[in-house]
Amino acid sequence: MLSYLGRRLLQGVVVLFIVTLLTFLLVNAAPGGPASLMRMETTDAERQALIQQLHLDEPLWKRYGSWLAGALHGDLGLSLNSREPVLPLILKRLGNTLQLAGAALLLAVVIGLPLGLVAAMRRNSWIDHGATLLSTLGMSVPDFWLGILMIMVFSVSWHLLPPSGMSSIGSAFTLADRIRHLVMPAIVLTMVILPNVVRFARSSLAEVLDQDYIRTAYAKGLSARQVIYRHALRNSLIPVVTIIGLLIPALLGGSVIVESVFGWPGMGRLAVEASSGRDYTLVMAITVVAAVVVVVTNLLVDLVYSLIDPRIRHG
């Protein structure tokens, strides 16, 4: 168990090391990186100050070393545009993104899991075809367009829900107000991952239902209900846990667009603002933070998975 988790932890560390090295090299060695500052219209004194400040006179590996040392102490550098430390800036927004992503994940599991399971139990029924149609449509609809359509219907025509932001301006925080703002972005973000949840739940149960021990259970005279609840469901739900790990990158990536459509002040929208302003230290730090979130959540999923399925620990 411990050696399994230790191995996964080491893999996570290696992945993060490569991610940081990659983004650092990209930002620092690329033609649009700090080197381009040298080609800007600056006086010699300004140029010298920049070189001093960004340590451009030092070799690349040394700069990466000191950047990494800083990063391990929570210092990911200063924003090029606002001159503020980027990490507090990002963490302030990360909480909002996690609220949105958490709501979307919850919705996707609550809707997608039963839908996929029922589809697998009644293969080729109208529910099965409906679920397939829904996931095909969900994979094909542009999320920002779905957002615009929802704003059109629920905000513009029916005045039911606020079109953007996290809370009503000038009023104190209430849970009801937050939920009213959360509904539309959460539904759109859910659609990004719902097809995967439905498909995975369906194929997971379908696979178990094809196993020999299920046939044995039927053969010894158990009812369909008993077979499914006692034997099939438990085993098919175990792999579903893993898909949560796979969905985290999709949720974070989807937040970039969804937060922009609905003016949700999260990390994704911060990345768009930073990219428009060519603030590459901020964009790079956001990318690293996003990768850390992905790696850490995947480790947590592995931990949960190995706790509920003993086969994994000894695999």
Binding site: V14, V27, P142, W145, V156, P249, V256, G268, Y280, V283
Partner: protein, 269 residues
């Protein structure tokens, strides 16, 4: 199953043929001036002169849809070429040579896949600028990792097979074995993955262009047409409808085509 799938295959194929004909052939006979503003006729309703009306600058919406379709489809297909070249090279090398080549390349794939795709895209575009070739490159660079993983897995499966052993024993060069013997086995799976990838690329490009970070105006793309549409959502909601429908129908067709091809090429499922 087979019959139903071949029906969607034909329907999706027919739609895509008509779409390609529309965006490339129609402009040969009709130039709607997609980028010519007409201040006297802004936001007009559909009419005989402008079949789908005009946008906020008085440009013909149908002409812009066709021009946008050309760029959107081209970007998606070229991005898949990028993904194909990098992904096949990396996957084949890692799967065939194993050892340190395999560790190095596949850890690189793991690392890139740990970065949510839109953040990687934004990082690259911020550094290299928001030009159209960059958009192609960046979207392709985001899709080569699943291609590499698939090719890698297939190479692991085939490299120990008898026909590969035989050709190795006959003294064939590694290069010959990779290109002539194993790679052709992978082509069906590649076609499926890349067809689905075109759908994904269209969504990625239109999302970027919607955010103002992809295809830059005045060049129309389905995504950047929606960027302005949100401003006129109260006065001219139809501006938001057409490009979105175009994106959805096209992505749906590519996804249906990809899924149908998978069923045709893989009799196991």
């Amino acid at each position: 199953m087979g019959r139903k799938r071949s029906w969607t295959l034909w329907l999706a194929g027919l739609f895509l043929v008509l779409l390609y004909a529309a965006v490339w052939v129609v402009p040969l006979f009709w130039d709607g001036h997609p980028n010519r503003p007409d201040p006297a006729h802004t936001l007009t309703a559909p009419s005989a002169q402008h079949l789908l009306g005009t946008d906020e600058l008085g440009r013909d919406v149908l002409a812009r849809l066709l021009a946008g379709g050309r760029i959107t489809l081209s970007v998606a297909v070229m991005a898949m070429v990028v993904a194909l070249v990098i992904g096949v090279t990396v996957g084949a090398l890692a799967g065939y040579f194993r050892g340190w080549v395999e560790s190095l390349l596949m850890r690189l794939v793991d690392a890139i896949m740990a970065i949510p795709s839109f953040f990687l895209i934004l990082t690259l575009l911020t550094i290299f600028g928001h030009s159209t070739p960059m958009v192609i490159l960046v979207i392709g660079v985001n899709y080569w990792t699943p291609v590499a993983r698939m090719v890698y897995a297939e190479f692991l499966r085939f490299r120990e097979r008898e026909f590969v052993e035989a050709s190795r024993a006959a003294g064939a060069h590694s290069w010959t074995i990779i290109v002539r013997h194993i790679l052709p086995q992978v082509i069906p799976s590649l076609i499926v993955l890349l067809t689905l990838g075109i759908g994904w690329s269209i969504l990625a490009e239109s999302g970027l262009s919607y955010l103002g970070l992809g295809i830059q105006p005045p060049q129309a793309s389905w995504g950047n047409m929606l960027q302005n549409a949100q401003v006129y959502i109260w006065t001219a909601p139809r501006l938001a409808i057409y490009p979105g429908l175009a994106i959805m129908a096209t992505v749906l067709a590519f996804n249906a085509l990809g899924n149908a091809l998978r069923d045709q090429l893989d009799p196991r499922k």
